[in-house]
Symmetry: D3
Subunit: 227 residues, 6 copies
């Protein structure tokens, strides 16, 4: 039997989905769960506003309802539709923002978020507060690049390194969470340059999901032993 | 190349170490990291007091310094020696209490802790507060069994189920963390009986460690792509 | 010149909209702003789940964008679409949950929420936390009536009085917020029976909106005086 | 029947009282409640110290006891005597600091306070903390003008705009509360210059009081409908 | 040279002042500071309401201004006039509520308050919150005795023991603060019966004041040594 | 009968112990408790890392168990071994960090900590959070001097004054706690230069301990009077 983890990129950008899936390659084992990544055709090209986040929330829950899996990951840093998705399935549903922040918290007292857009920060702050995690947040700062610039790897990396440096030196962050999905290709280099842990939140959530499906797999045996 | 995760049970109880290792079997893949579990001969048979926790803290840091690994897990729910262990190695060191609580938080708004002993609860509460996680803690309640009773599986399970039920119904817990290492054999049955997620904290920490070593593995490739 | 306040009931229930509008009659003055109440034809009959709240959020923002007004009130206790609505207009947009809680806080140290359904409470708690208001919340309890029972005024009133009494006596609430729109008809009687302030959140938000439009009205004169 | 709202300026400065009353003109309707503003002859010319705030507290409660009204507003940003006033009457008593902060919170995630004097800030911070609202406070900064300068409108406006700008750009305030009574004449211009909502706290409290008296007015009808 | 600590009982009850002074006898040493206790003739017989607390606040500051001392203690559990008193002298002024709570916090994770009257509790809670100490407060419960009962030692002790027991067993208090001045005669017996530390707040504040005056005494020598 | 307070310097530095003892001279009265200061031969020369703090924790508890006293003070700003020491004796055990912070809190709304080493600050912050006191902490800054520099009084004083000034002017501290034991010789001069209260934490804890032993002394009499 093989379990399946479904990673849902709520926007319609195939490139992002492909980048996500590549960044999960290390977690695919012959005996391990299948890890599938999909995007949502009806979603916007990116989640850049509260309207975008609100628009995709129902689509995420619908995607969950429509595509059976053993665990789901909502792969957008606003975790849109997370709670409604949980109403739509009995399988566990994880959000990458939550799991990414937890992963950073496991390595340091406070974390910083590198966001793409300044306008997303108030949305992030509301979400962090809703989770009572504000005391652990050192800061949230945006790289604020244009679409053209975002297509240039070295520019993105340079800007992320600058923002990360400010989060560490000025805001006191011990670890960094990349506040967006699909940026994992920069993770290792950024971590090397910044000298503190850098978390790709999708990786964090997928590994959490792996634990859930793998421990469920072990259940029959456990039940036998504890009986 | 194969990475190694070292799970350190800070007490001297081989039975606990063996139970831990068995509960990690699902996470051992042919292509995955080695997961080794050790105990500390000089440690007490169990961590039952602040004196016990204080006594093992330096031993944990020494064990980390003495035994090279790619990631370490401190496998006692008080995370003794976690911060000193980080001073002793450049590899990441994770604590099972922190990772166990995060795993529960990823699945619900508030979590309950099932402790073995009542006298451990003040220690847990101080630790939870030090992490600013008190607002997420629904409650911490002890099964308070004698050593003789703890050796009887059905008694332990029954008592854990009672305490878990109180944490859910009375304290409002959405998920349960087992506040001790080496109890994973009860996890699945308990989860089934309680109807909410039940977390074995060692499993949670080991999977976090897997992510860290696997993403480090992927690093060369990432660095190449982002260059 | 007459300003217009648009109150948006995000569900499609005309009865609720009519009840809301009647409860705002006291705030309609000859020289005051027009207060219009609308519902959303595409909305669900009631907001009973996270899926319902997520579904109406984009509709609320669209309703705001489509219907020019000097101030808007989102009239559902989850304040769905509030933040996206603010992206869609330069007029102020208020949420009844926020304004209702503030109104209660102005009269007592802690407030209780009377919800319709138990399943809405986790959603409310997340929202209250996102606003950093959890320390002021004494409790949130549901009347949990069937649809048939909800149609019977005396049954609803009786149950609200019971739940309100528990919020006051057991949870320590100093004031009560009705955690739903369209229940204003019970407000005064409930307040009389409970002996503490009872807030209809729609009334609270509409009066806040009146202040905003009336002080904007006064602006020319103010600007002149301060120049 | 006409209800009466009594606004109590706890200092003896008629000019402040007159300015307050003018700023409430927009809320006086033919069919609405009477809004009277009084000052306290025995009060100091201004509330500039903790001693001043303490001195007027009993006078406010006495003024409430001596002058029957349907709702009271304590119109000094320290809300002096608010809780004792509530012991002295069965009518609701509102404080402008509380209502002003709530009004700002209804429009943004965090608010800034423009104070007159630096020495009032510790008193404000204690009060904000007593209400558990510190997480919403972006900052409190003083214009620190001399009495002579305070008499010059353009100087005051200029300085308020500077301080407001710092609260927004440096402290992250989304909305501004004027931390004093009697400054409403600057509100609209300041709001225009700063580009974020600016709240006159007396206006906020008076409108809250209007809601209370108007919904009480509606009570007979409500009781009838819900019976 | 002999320093003087002035303990101000803000009510006019000589019996309370005398009981206070007796309870401070252990802290009077031949070479130590003088510890004087006074009451305020114009104060009420007891502080039983917010009006009482507000009424004595200015009197406390006046007493401080009128009677030179090296350190002052405001000896009423509401710490009335504390902040204004600090404006009136360059000597340190301490409040017994603050010092009493700190003394309990030094001995346990959470403290309970035994109040005389139920109606004082909201005032206490506001004060505790203003100090950001709410997370340390296990509970505040009143003995609620009549004046006649308060004159009977055994009745008071019995009731305090009952309330203290509830604070410990039900609310989880690790230490108890007596929420009133002049009750020190019951402290030791109560502590013996309850089995947890019981703090008389006046003793706590006076000892804090002793430290301040004694370290000031040592100052010349210190300055010499560090030069 | 004479009570004995035992002050335990957990490092092996006799010079520090001697400085501590001298700084407690003012609290030694003919009729008062004996105040003894000891160090721990097996301890490190200073507590400069988490490993050092962890290493001394069991030694502190052993010292308490081995040397009977009426009250104990753990005299290292990390309060190492405090909770285990409480398990080892029925006498009260106080930590200087806790008592030092309380002493500062009794005199101002927020306090700053002057640490010796930057690397100690994360440890301090975790401890402050474990006590729920983070909202009162203005900042923690290190003088970061070399061992050679630490031996030069004027250099230390100068650097402490600089750091203290930053804590006050930039972080908003109202009072300063010296974040280390054995620095009391600088206290008075530093307080004079900074113009705000400066607390030596060992003095604060010892005076707290004096209160505990002196009120225990008074117990027989109290019990008699309340009977």
């Amino acid at each position: 039997m093989t379990e399946r983890i479904l990673v849902i990129n709520p926007n319609s950008n195939h490139g992002v989905t492909r980048a996500m899936s590549e960044a999960l390659e290390s977690f695919r084992f012959a005996e391990g769960p299948v890890i599938d990544c999909i995007d949502i055709a009806a979603g916007p090209p990116g989640i850049e506003s509260q309207a975008d986040a609100d628009a995709v929330a129902p689509l995420v829950a619908q995607a969950v309802a429509a595509d059976p899996a053993d665990a789901y990951v909502v792969a957008c840093f606003s975790d849109p539709g997370l709670y409604a998705a949980r109403e739509a399935t009995s399988s566990p549903v994880l959000g990458i923002a939550q799991c990414g922040m937890h992963a950073a918290m496991a390595l340091g007292a406070s974390f910083g978020i590198i966001s793409i857009l300044q306008r997303s920060i108030p949305r992030h702050l509301r979400y962090v507060a809703s989770l009572h995690l504000s005391p652990r947040l050192a800061g949230d700062r945006a790289i604020e690049l244009t679409v053209a610039e975002l297509a240039q790897g070295p520019v993105v990396l340079e800007r992320m390194a600058q923002v990360g440096r400010t989060l560490i030196d000025q805001d006191g962050a011990d670890a960094i969470v990349m506040g967006c999905a699909g940026m994992a290709a920069y993770r290792a280099t950024l971590e090397h340059r910044l000298g503190v842990p850098v978390i790709d939140p999708t990786q964090a959530a997928v590994v959490d999901a792996m634990r859930l499906v793998l421990t469920a797999r072990a259940r029959a045996g456990e039940a036998r032993r504890s009986a």
